[in-house]
């Protein structure tokens, strides 16, 4: 048992992990209302066919990225799917690209996360039906051939991956001529068409995957794009929603800042996209009770052994004091303060963290009330 664990009865510092990237460290503590909103939303998309656009908004550090990562965990999605007695969803999380070619960036980040081997193995038993479906859904023969090659095990895995990444030269492309692929993907229309058809196929009859859940994080960065790229992003989202009428759940994570608030959205998101927003999930700044519940819950995930004080190593009056001193702050700021407090106490071998201990460190950890 490490010194830290002995002192604080915790596996590790739980506040350093937000937002965690390692799925094993990703836990959902407290915030039961928001959690159930997402569970209900995803479960609905698992059950029903309609594609949906949802806007998640809140201040910086209010937990939007954490929600995206948590609800992309396979075990979390599997639990929701089991409740609905359907197949598991396929989830993608990426940030809104800020570069010169946003649609290309989105396309590449989706290809990055595409496990072609797994997909091929999962669809092998329904391949003939899937091919018929592909023929029926689009008149674009080139795009049909590309998507069929993604699912067709006889096409070398590396060839199709290189093709999708656009790193194939013209002589290498000859290896795909026999499956009807005669040219490279070249523009945003191609990328949107491939993604749309891919999503429709992955959720074919909800047999292998019940729905696609896409999270576009940092969507507020649309406010820093130029008019051309704002156009491209809007057209891309509209095309995807038009061409994937079923089984797509698209979350847009929007952080309110000096640059953009929900009211400003109309300047950047066209009516054709905005009118598709069916639900808004707000990450409000947490109240005192919500923060305390969160803290108890979080500490219990990392607890080693037991303690009668559910806030251990913190005295409850210390927790109350931090909350009242900081005023309305985001969950990230709350975590940062507690993280510094526990680390400073660790360095000085102070446990439990009483009001006396807190006072010594107060100026180091309380820094931002606004």
């Amino acid at each position: 048992m490490t010194d830290f664990t002995q002192k604080f009865k915790l596996k590790t510092n739980p506040f350093r992990l937000t937002p965690a990237t390692n799925p094993n460290e990703l836990v959902w503590a407290g915030f039961v209302d928001i959690k159930s909103k997402f569970e209900r939303r995803i479960e609905r998309s698992i059950r029903i066919p309609n594609s949906t656009l949802v806007l998640n908004w809140g201040e910086y550090g209010s937990g939007k990225t954490h929600a995206a990562r948590y609800f992309s965990k396979l075990d979390v999605l599997q639990d929701l799917a089991s409740k609905a007695d359907r197949a598991v969803p396929y989830s993608f999380v990426f940030s809104l690209p800020k570069g010169k070619e946003p649609v290309y960036s989105v396309f590449i980040s989706i290809i990055d996360k595409l496990d072609i081997d797994h997909i091929r193995a999962s669809f092998q038993h329904i391949l003939p039906r899937l091919n018929d479906f592909i023929d029926s859904i689009t008149a674009n023969i080139h795009i049909r051939s590309v998507i069929k090659a993604v699912f067709e095990s006889s096409v070398p895995f590396l060839d199709i991956k290189k093709y999708l990444y656009g790193t194939m030269n013209s002589s290498e492309l000859k290896s795909l001529n026999s499956v009807g692929i005669l040219r490279l993907l070249k523009d945003d229309t191609d990328y949107a068409s491939v993604i749309s058809l891919l999503f429709s196929c992955l959720t074919f009859n909800k047999e292998v995957f019940s729905c696609i859940v896409v999270w576009i994080d940092e969507f507020e960065d649309i406010a820093v794009l130029n008019n051309t790229n704002i156009d491209k992003i809007n057209n891309f989202i509209r095309e995807i929603l038009d061409n994937v009428p079923n089984n797509l759940l698209l979350f847009l994570n929007l952080t309110q800042s000096a640059l953009i608030s929900v009211e400003d959205l109309g300047q950047y998101v066209y009516d054709s996209v905005r009118s598709r927003i069916k639900e808004r999930i707000s990450f409000d700044l947490p109240s005192k009770d919500v923060l305390k519940l969160y803290l108890k819950d979080l500490l219990s995930f990392f607890r080693v052994g037991e303690d009668v004080n559910l806030f251990f190593p913190f005295d409850e009056n210390v927790v109350d004091r931090i909350i009242s001193e900081q005023g309305n702050v985001s969950i990230r700021q709350f975590n940062e303060s507690l993280s510094l407090l526990i680390e400073l106490a660790d360095m000085d071998d102070r446990s439990p963290i009483t009001m006396e201990v807190f006072r010594e460190y107060e100026t180091d950890i309380i820094w931002h009330k606004d």
């Binding site: 010169k100 008019n227 680390e343 931002h368 606004d370």
Partner: protein, 304 residues
């Protein structure tokens, strides 16, 4: 434009290179007499490629597009190269210590840079060629500093890239309002993307490096970063150079951190004094304003 001359600073030229998506802006510049100081051109060459990586998100880079854009930058540089003077020739005319004399006269405390050379070159153009010089820069602190020199010596005025775009707009009948709006949007994006990137780097540092021990041992660095992040978040560029001076003062101790933020230093040129609007605010304001109020071109002043 008669005896008016537009002298461009490095930041303005780099912005013009990046926002000119189809190369047509350069063609429009042929309507005005443009000058660039030799020293400024060296700064342009040194810095013009820095933005490429942020423009082409490094992880999802499209090699072909990157190569094409690099070629476009090279071509545009060739255009601007043709507008630069030769400082050796200039100094043969007015003496080797000319820049030092102007630096001394204006009490400029920084080492020789593009803004100082441009101010000195502007005086030369004014006196030798009897030109009214408009110096276009995005460096607001330099603009504040040299304004008195330009005014008192009756050299001309110091303006920014937004003013230059408006000048090109009213001079050219084929330059539509929609085009102006798009260039302003490109300029806004070009200027704000590094601010967003800088904020991300600072926040990444806060969340990965600032633990209890670090915070205790480096209170002022941690405090400086926190304050700067809040300012950048609010697009508040007042007194941001105080943070830059602090970061420079701890460069030896925090070399890795310093190197990670060095490429964002042009952001500090956005500093404004008092309640003056920043360049970003000005772009937003002008973009709103031109939708409501007409900027007259020559034919607009005559009755229809």
């Amino acid at each position: 434009m008669g005896n008016i001359c537009c002298l461009l600073d490095a930041c303005t030229v780099i912005s013009l290179i990046y926002i000119d998506s189809d190369g047509s802006l350069l063609k429009r510049m042929k309507k005005v007499e443009i000058k660039i100081n030799d020293f400024v051109f060296s700064e342009i060459k040194d810095n013009v490629y820095i933005n490429l990586n942020s423009q082409f998100n490094s992880k999802y880079i499209n090699r072909n597009a990157l190569d094409n854009f690099r070629k476009e930058i090279d071509q545009r540089l060739t255009f601007f190269r043709s507008l630069k003077n030769d400082n050796e020739e200039l100094l043969r005319d007015v003496g080797d210590d000319y820049f030092d004399r102007i630096s001394c006269y204006t009490a400029y405390s920084k080492k020789r840079n593009g803004e100082l050379c441009s101010a000195a070159y502007a005086l030369y153009l004014s006196r030798v060629f009897e030109k009214k010089v408009f110096f276009y820069t995005e460096d607001y602190p330099a603009r504040m500093f040299f304004s008195r020199f330009f005014n008192f010596q009756q050299i001309g005025h110091i303006k920014d890239t937004v003013d230059f775009l408006i000048l090109l707009y009213w001079l050219d009948e084929s330059f539509s309002r929609r085009m102006l709006e798009n260039y302003l949007s490109e300029l806004y994006s070009h200027k704000i993307l590094p601010v967003v990137g800088f904020k991300q780097v600072l926040r990444e540092f806060q969340s990965t490096k600032v633990d209890g021990r670090f915070a205790r041992e480096n209170r002022s660095l941690v405090g400086n970063i926190k304050e700067l992040v809040i300012k950048l978040d609010n697009l508040d560029f007042r007194s941001i150079n105080g943070h830059l001076d602090y970061f420079k003062s701890v460069r030896k101790k925090h070399g890795v951190f310093f190197n990670s933020i060095e490429k964002f230093f042009p952001i500090f040129e956005l500093e404004v004094g008092g309640d003056s609007p920043s360049l970003l605010e000005k772009i937003t304001h002008v973009n709103d304003e031109i939708k409501k109020n007409q900027i007259f071109k020559w034919k607009d002043i005559f009755p229809a």
